[in-house]
């Protein structure tokens, strides 16, 4: 190591509760990564024996990951990030469906003559920005309102659906609030009232945390990312439902991944992703409520210390994902609390880490009409699902305020 070695010292007894931003790789994922880097390092596109080994490793990872996430009837396309998967599912599909004559005919009779794109009001910026950019491509883009719990309800979507809808975009779980939207119901409604629409679901936060299979969601395209469930960064995937026309690719050159995503495949990243997903699956089989239990314990514990605490997000159990708990502690500034918790070795988040700018008020809290005076007081705790209750009880918010 050179003199300017950037490796900082390890943190003292940390409790990391920011898994929704990124999760530490699981030991099983690291093992798979290191093993693949030694045995499956060749280019899977090469014809020789080592190339075949790499191709086999990639294929095994594809099968394992699909199985672990319950992606029956879906084709897996490896991507670099969840953001890229959302682009492929949104921009790539918009480009594809715009050639559908029936959709265009239906769109001709509406006010603007453009096909419509319906996007959930509280999507991650990677989906929201790409959906909004479709306005420049001859689509009308409309927001589907979320309720105050951060849920896109069928009632909100139903009146917006019609034959001229090209794309519906709703994430499975919200990254700031931990709220679940009833994707299967929304998909069924879409099939019924908007037969030409493709349905994209961003499952980056919920995959690996929920016992339901991707198959049960039924969306046309579903994006997931390795690093949110203990895989490693730089590897993600888009699931494409069998029978759904393929999206127009974002990158070209080489024709990897059925021509849908060119670039040398990240064989080691894929191996780590598959291993992580298998562990998540196994843990959920052992205890499907592992997140919900911890979520409830943590909320109780925080409430004892701060009786006037306000949950930002779902309170009805059916909409609680479990791995994310966001709460406002009235009268405090989240950033101050965050730093105070940090000095105690507890890392959590405020707002979304994914928007690199930070410092602006969360548009998600605005969209769910969260009380304005509390919007700067929201802390986000996001769980691995293996924390002990005793660990969670070390969080002493009461004495900080």
């Amino acid at each position: 190591m050179p003199a300017n070695d950037p490796t900082p010292a390890p943190l003292a007894t940390p409790l990391y509760l920011d898994h929704a931003a990124t999760a530490p790789p699981l030991p099983e994922a690291m093992e798979a990564f290191i093993k693949a880097s030694k045995t499956a390092y060749a280019n899977p596109g090469s014809l020789h024996g080592l190339g075949a080994l790499a191709a086999r490793s990639l294929d095994q990872s594809r099968k394992k990951l699909s199985k672990a996430l319950g992606a029956r009837n879906y084709r897996l396309i490896w991507t670099g990030t969840g953001t890229e998967g959302n682009h492929l599912g949104i921009l790539g599909m918009a480009e594809r469906v715009r050639t559908n004559a029936k959709l265009l005919a239906a769109a001709k009779s509406n006010a603007s003559g453009n096909p419509r794109v319906l996007v959930g009001a509280i999507e991650h910026p990677s989906s929201m920005d790409s959906a909004l950019s479709l306005r420049k491509q001859g689509f009308d883009v409309e927001l589907i309102p979320a309720d105050t719990q951060g849920v896109i309800q069928p009632d909100a979507l139903a009146p917006m659906l019609a034959e001229d809808v090209a794309l519906v975009i709703v994430h499975w779980a919200n990254n700031e609030l931990g709220s679940l939207s009833p994707i299967a119901d929304l998909v069924a409604l879409t099939r019924q009232k908007a037969p030409h629409a493709s349905f994209h679901c961003d499952a980056v936060q919920a995959a690996g945390k929920r016992p339901e299979s991707l198959y049960s969601l039924g969306a046309d395209t579903i994006s997931v990312a390795a690093h949110k469930m203990g895989g490693i960064r730089g590897c993600a995937a888009l699931f494409l439902k069998d029978g759904t026309p393929a999206p127009v690719p974002m990158f070209l050159g080489g024709g990897h991944e059925y021509g849908l995503r060119s670039g040398t495949e990240n064989v080691m990243g894929a191996a780590a992703f598959a291993a992580a997903a298998e562990v998540r699956r196994q843990r959920l089989v052992e205890d499907p409520d592992r997140y919900l239990k911890r979520h409830a314990e943590l909320l109780n514990h925080l409430r004892l210390a701060v009786p006037d605490l306000i949950v930002a997000g779902p309170t009805d159990p059916e909409f609680v994902m479990g791995s994310i708990l966001s709460v406002a502690i009235p009268g405090t500034r989240a950033e101050t609390l965050l730093h105070m918790l940090e000095t105690k070795g507890i890392s959590c988040g405020s707002g979304s880490a994914c928007s690199a700018h930070g410092h602006t008020e969360s548009p998600i809290l605005t969209a769910i009409n969260f009380p304005k005076e509390h919007r700067n007081s929201v802390l986000r705790f996001s769980l691995d699902g293996s924390e002990s209750i005793a660990d969670l009880q070390t969080i002493e918010v009461g004495e900080l305020i």
């Binding site: 931003a21 090469s46 890229e84 790409s130 690093h227 080691m268």
Partner: protein, 406 residues
């Protein structure tokens, strides 16, 4: 695999991760695993610091500034952002682009895509060694030319384009210059200022770094290059490439470049000597061989030879345990002959008989001698079965024979 001994000679397709690179990456998986955008806690801060350090190392490696480096998922993405991004951003200036027939698919395919969308692309020809004519380039640049995209080292035949001269021509004539340096980063000398490069693509996995990480250099001054992003939302990488940053990956990339540069010239010499030794052994023992590519101006690690009268694929299968490539890895699953060799005027028969040997950091002299021996034996065996070779020995040129169909 029938033989236990495995020799990897396909280093232009990809490389194994150097153990030192892996070691540098590990702490960022296990201890400092935070999201570089999580400004609120130490985990995120440590990740951001590591990223900055990596950015600096990579920038220094090509004579650039940190703020000019954009991290991507690989060279394919970098090439796509550079080409599609520049074409879309500057379409008011013009819709003309220049590239060459022997570029990597990750340049050719986005160029073809733009052609379908109304851009005009000039495809420069190459000579029999894979070299472009600089005068042809000069003549091709017009007032509405937005971008010239030419690679540094060719991935199949190893021919090096004179990028310093190309850069000067582009600068003089007001066109942006994109260089795909995937095969030369860490190997050949690269300086974006001396070479007037405005956009440069590279990848970690070709220099013993991890797969899934690449970079794009985007010039910020004289001129300031602007691009329309392909992937946005979140505003990472100054809005040019959104998505959670692959911190361990970029740390590994930087370490890989650092290792490559530490010892660059000596290693280049060592690799060149091994390559020349392999070339010499094959040429001494076998007849009817053709060297593909420029005999002088080519990658030190590359040896591309056509073995007339046999099929490249048969040879690959005839030397089990030795990993070499017939055609480029990206297209080798197809049975089409290499488009690079075709562009150089190599006939389909010789193109089908070409093999690429890619020498690397862990290749030894002993391995080279072993490979030479096995290849010679396999070629002799295959040629013994080849009526065409027999005809050639009898003094009949098989290409002049009129075959009747039956």
């Amino acid at each position: 695999m029938t033989e236990s001994r495995l020799i990897y000679l396909d280093h232009q397709a990809t490389t194994a991760v150097d153990p030192q690179v892996l070691e540098a990456m590990l702490p960022y998986f296990t201890q400092h695993f935070g999201n570089a955008a999580s400004r609120g806690h130490d985990f995120g801060w440590a990740a951001e610091q590591a990223t900055n350090q990596a950015r600096e190392t990579l920038a220094n490696g090509i004579g650039a500034k940190e703020r000019e480096i954009v991290f991507t998922s690989g060279a394919t993405e970098s090439n796509n952002i550079a080409i599609l991004g520049a074409a879309r951003m500057y379409q008011r200036k013009g819709k003309h682009l220049i590239t060459c027939l022997t570029e990597h698919k990750a340049v050719i395919d986005p160029m073809r895509n733009l052609e379908n969308q109304g851009w005009e692309v000039t495809w420069l020809n190459v000579d029999a060694q894979g070299r472009i004519d600089l005068q042809e380039l000069r003549d091709a640049i017009r007032p509405d030319t937005v971008l010239v995209s030419l690679m540094h080292g060719n991935n199949e035949i190893g021919t090096l384009h004179p990028i310093k001269e190309i850069g000067a021509i582009c600068r003089e004539n007001g066109a942006l210059f994109h260089c795909d340096a995937t095969q030369t980063l860490g190997k050949e000398e690269l300086d974006v200022n001396q070479m007037n490069i405005d956009l440069l693509s590279a990848s970690a996995h070709k220099i013993y770094g991890p797969k899934g990480v690449g970079m794009l250099y985007v010039r910020r001054r004289n001129p300031r290059v602007r691009l329309e992003p392909i992937i946005y939302g979140g505003g990472h990488e100054r809005g040019l490439r959104s998505g959670t940053l692959n911190v361990p990956g970029v740390v590994g990339f930087a370490k890989a470049l650092e290792l490559s540069l530490q010892n660059r010239e000596a290693e280049q010499q060592r690799v060149r000597a091994l390559r020349d030794r392999l070339q010499q052994r094959l040429m001494d023992k076998l007849d009817y061989l053709t060297l593909n590519g420029d005999p002088e101006q080519r990658l030190a690690c590359n040896l591309n030879i056509s073995f007339a009268y046999i099929e490249g694929e048969s040879l690959v299968l005839g030397i089990p345990g030795i990993a070499v490539s017939s055609g480029s890895a990206c297209t080798s699953a197809s049975l089409e002959p290499s488009y690079v060799l075709r562009a150089m005027g190599v006939g389909d028969d010789l193109a089908h008989s070409s093999i690429r040997f890619g020498i690397g950091r862990f290749t030894t002299e002993e391995q080279i001698d072993y490979v030479a021996e096995k290849v010679v034996a396999a070629v002799r065996r295959l040629r013994d079965m080849s009526p065409l070779y027999e005809m050639a020995l009898e003094g009949i040129d098989p290409s002049t024979v009129q075959w009747s169909s039956h």
